[in-house]
């Protein structure tokens, strides 16, 4: 297996790769619409304890993904379209996970919208959600810019140590 196929690069992709990504996105987006999570009001109602139904959205989705990841890692071998081995989503735990989660929480609590739900919200005709999507792109840029700055300034003290 090449590094390119590991990343899902364009070279040598299976002809069904993009159709499967699109199909997955369609089902994912339909589900977000059906669950009403694409409506900021519904998320805010949940966070204000007026309607706890959103527990079933995240819970239902996590149960299906848990079953699928267990199937992939324990029973199946490699993904047919990429040759990629099946893995679980494991990332390292550090301070950024907490700080980032906290900042995300403030943003989610203020706006009632998260990235996937925002794309779906556009799909249900919610044009004002473009404010949130624009904000998310600005936020993604801000952290990348800030990280580039910190990386530059942190080089000097490390070198002098």
């Amino acid at each position: 297996m090449s590094a390119a196929s590991d990343r899902g690069d364009a070279d040598g992709r299976h002809p069904l790769f993009m159709p499967v990504i699109l199909l997955g996105g369609l089902i994912f987006g339909f589900g977000l619409g059906y669950s009403h999570m694409a409506r900021p009001e519904v998320v805010l109602d949940f966070l204000q304890f007026d309607d706890l139904g959103l527990v079933f959205v995240m819970g239902g989705a996590a149960v299906v993904s848990a079953f699928t990841f267990a199937l992939g890692t324990r029973v199946l071998d490699r993904a047919p379209l990429t040759g990629k081995p099946y893995t679980r989503r494991l990332k390292s735990l550090d301070r950024n996970v907490l700080v980032g989660g906290g900042i995300f929480g403030v943003g989610w609590g203020v706006s009632g919208i998260c990235p996937g739900a925002a794309y779906a919200s556009l799909g249900v005709g919610n044009v004002p959600i473009l404010w949130a999507i624009a904000g998310m792109f600005v936020g993604a840029y801000v952290q990348a810019f800030w990280r580039a700055r910190t990386a530059e300034t942190s080089v000097a003290p490390t070198a002098s140590d």
């Binding site: 994912f28 409506r39 079933f56 959205v57 149960v63 993904s65 699928t68 996937g116 404010w131 999507i133």
Partner: protein
């Protein structure tokens, strides 16, 4: 033994649970289709960074894993928009728009954008895929953003901002 419930299901779930549970199962099914076909665990928010790589030279956006995935992440996102559009046409009877004020959407969106990228994932990456992987990192992240979001939303409500 007789228990007197403090709150009824109708109070906790005034709109029932069917729409939420079915929607959640479908979201998981979308993740499953991509995973079983390609081995990729798709979260929604990496799209924000990988798409920036088309327009910006910042090193963070131009890492190989973003350059190699930015095209299918656009296809995935377009799929989400279209899938929700199919829902709207079939069940919603046309467009729905929010009454939440623009500054809440934009300001909250900025913080969501910073937080998801710093914290290595969002509601789908950590909340669905990470929790589904029983990842300790994701469980910590979800517990953090959930608690903070509940506190924030209740403060905003208490401050009289509505919607």
């Amino acid at each position: 033994m007789e228990l007197i419930p403090l709150v009824t299901a109708a109070e906790l779930f005034p709109n029932g649970v069917e729409r939420y549970a079915v929607g959640g199962l479908l979201i998981g099914l979308g993740v499953a289709v991509i995973y079983l076909g390609t081995g990729i665990i798709a979260g929604a928010s990496t799209f924000l960074e990988s798409t920036w790589s088309y327009a910006s030279n910042l090193p963070r956006f131009n890492r190989p894993k973003y350059l190699g995935s930015r095209d299918w992440r656009i296809v995935f996102t377009v799929g989400i928009v279209l899938g929700a559009g199919v829902y709207a046409l079939a069940f919603q009877g046309g467009a729905w728009t929010t009454d939440v004020q623009w500054w809440r959407l934009f300001g909250g969106g900025v913080l969501v954008g910073i937080g998801t990228r710093l914290g290595k994932g969002c509601t789908s990456g950590h909340g669905v895929c990470g929790v589904g992987s029983v990842s300790q990192t994701s469980l910590v992240n979800v517990a953090t953003f959930m608690a903070v979001a509940i506190g924030t939303a209740q403060l905003v409500q208490a401050a009289g901002v509505s919607p």
